[in-house]
Amino acid sequence: MFNEIDCNMNSNLQFSKVQFPNEKRVATGYAPIALEIRRDIVKMLTLAKSGHTGGPMGLADFMAVLYFGKFMKYSANEPQMPDRDRFVLSGGHLVPVLYSCLARAGFFEPDELSTLRKFGSRLQGHPGLDTELPGLETSSGSLGQGISIAVGMAMADKLVDHNDRKVFCLTGDGELEEGAVWEAAMAAANFKLDNLCWIVDNNDCQIDGRVRDVMSIYPLAEKFEAFGCNVIEIDGHNFEQIVNALDKFEQNNKNKSGKPTVIILKTFMGQGVSFMQDKYSWHGIPPTEEQAEMALQELK
């Protein structure tokens, strides 16, 4: 059990107990949820002393809408609910933001977030299905694989089981340098997977620098369009735009548009904390305790 794991808890880094079960969704508005997620990320990473801070911070706003809006059907009480929608995290290193959402949605207690990356934890550095963490749909961590898993799930739903389930999948932008991603795009379009919503975290950062410098993926919308996808480009920190984009996906899906939806989220790495914002150096490091304190000051 996780409470046997030595978590070296500093009182500042304790996790709030607040959860946002189904009935509370939306009602609270997204901002406080996104804030809670960002606070979780800072605390988790600080306690873990290793891992990826910047990407998850940039995704808090989108994930708040996805997990706590009306768009994704799931049940924290019945994680394997047969008609649930599914979320596949293709960029496995971004998983802290997912763990926070799962905890806040009631899949497990927020306290467990303190075990991130520790021996024996269900919160692996990159998600592992072998931990049987409730709410987790697949392992990932080798970039460019999760999106094909999502394509396979969407095909199962649409072409074999003929149900109404939806599949959401998140990839990074550096991740789009992997050729496998374009195989997935080609297949998604050819199989007319209008039940697939592919979100690209376009923070223009990867480990070695700006995506445009390391190996440019631009122009991006044009690529996805040429590969047969429906592209929506939005500000990934604007709740209204996020809601509208997910609404459009729902329309595409309901109308059987025959095209997968790609939402290009313009985000900033490290969004929410001034000294992290838009800094690719924050891709793969945790905050120190002092940095955490400063960050949590800003995140109020």
Partner: protein, 336 residues
């Protein structure tokens, strides 16, 4: 040899293709993915019968493997098949992370494997894939010896839970097992009793192993135990240890590199349990080349004569215990 008689020749891929149809009939959650060579690997039989459960992914082995994973995570028994040179290399990372780490119910059919794919040449002659597949946790690896066994093995991996790889070939090979021949995943079968030497073979090398045993008996009165080791992972340590103890020496025979394949798996068991001299019949750390299957099997010492020669060598070592260093690849390289 009880129940083991030559009944002509047939391809193992036929067994694979037909078994998929049987599986499809029995289990409505079997789905199959094609990689543009569906006629060659005979997934086309399934496609014809169950078009709504067959999906053409094109030439994209990575994607086919990971899409299959997504299907498996949705409750399907997902088969992907292509040439083994691509169905177990181009997608190696996908096999490791998505299939095996997820312990997903994905089955890979590696067709046109080994040197006997023939004139296509080295790029298509997959002789290395068993090495890493058996290193992957959760993976089951089966190399059936003939058409009938390929059929049984395909059904067996379809009906077990978890990742599995089955290897089959292009050309017709002797058909010598029957519906009655026992087959259990993970259980090596003694096809011929004997206690002077054990020949442990898989795939199309099982038949020449039996031939070599007959010749040894006829010419020299040597009784060779012949073991059909179809499942390379999990390896049947009990049967192999018994063979090592009772026979005192072992020859392995496989259509694969001598590094990392069946021979290597048997050596691991042997030194761990009952160290005895071994000889390895297999591809000697080199790439293949174009040619007819029979011709290549001969040129690269993958025939009963090579097994025969190796048994004599290993028996002599058992008797004399000589301990000079002889590399695995000591058979002279062929001349062009």
């Amino acid at each position: 040899m009880k129940n083991i008689n030559l009944q002509g020749k047939k391809t193992t891929r036929h067994g694979f293709g037909e078994a998929l149809v049987e599986l499809g009939e029995k289990h409505d959650n079997v789905v199959v993915f094609g990689g543009d060579i569906t006629g060659s690997v005979m997934t086309s039989f399934f496609q014809k019968k169950f078009p709504e459960r067959f999906f053409s992914i094109g030439i994209a082995e990575q994607n086919a493997t990971t899409i299959a994973t997504g299907m498996a995570l949705s409750g399907k028994i997902a088969f992907f098949s292509s040439y083994s040179a691509f169905a177990a290399f181009r997608n190696a990372d996908q096999l490791r992370v998505s299939v095996c780490y997820n312990n997903a119910n994905v089955k890979i059919g590696g067709g046109h494997s080994g040197i006997t794919v023939g004139p296509d040449g080295a790029t298509h002659q997959s002789l290395e894939e068993v090495s890493f597949l058996r290193a992957l946790p959760n993976m089951t690896v089966v190399v059936p010896c003939d058409y009938n066994e390929a059929k049984k093995a395909t059904i067996a991996i379809g009906e077990m839970y978890g990742p599995a790889y089955i290897r089959f070939g292009r050309s017709s090979v002797p058909l010598f097992t029957t519906d009655e021949t026992p087959f259990t995943l993970g259980k090596a079968e003694v096809f011929r009793e004997g206690a002077d030497v054990a020949i442990v073979a898989c795939g199309l090398m099982v038949w020449p192993a039996l031939l070599a045993a007959e010749e040894l008996k006829k010419n020299l009165g040597i009784e060779a135990r012949v073991i059909n080791n179809h499942t390379i992972k999990p390896i049947d340590g009990e049967t192999l240890t018994k063979a090592a103890v009772e026979c005192g020496c072992i020859v392995t025979a496989e259509e694969h590199q001598v590094y990392g394949g069946l021979g290597s798996a048997v050596a691991e068991v042997v030194v761990k349990n009952a160290p005895v001299p071994m000889e390895f019949v297999g591809m000697k750390d080199r790439f293949g080349t174009s040619g007819e299957p029979e011709e290549l099997l001969e040129k690269f010492d993958l025939n009963w004569q090579a097994i025969y020669a190796s048994t004599l060598k290993v028996i002599e070592r058992k008797n004399n215990g000589n301990c000079e260093y002889r590399p695995l690849t000591d058979i002279p390289k062929y001349e062009k």
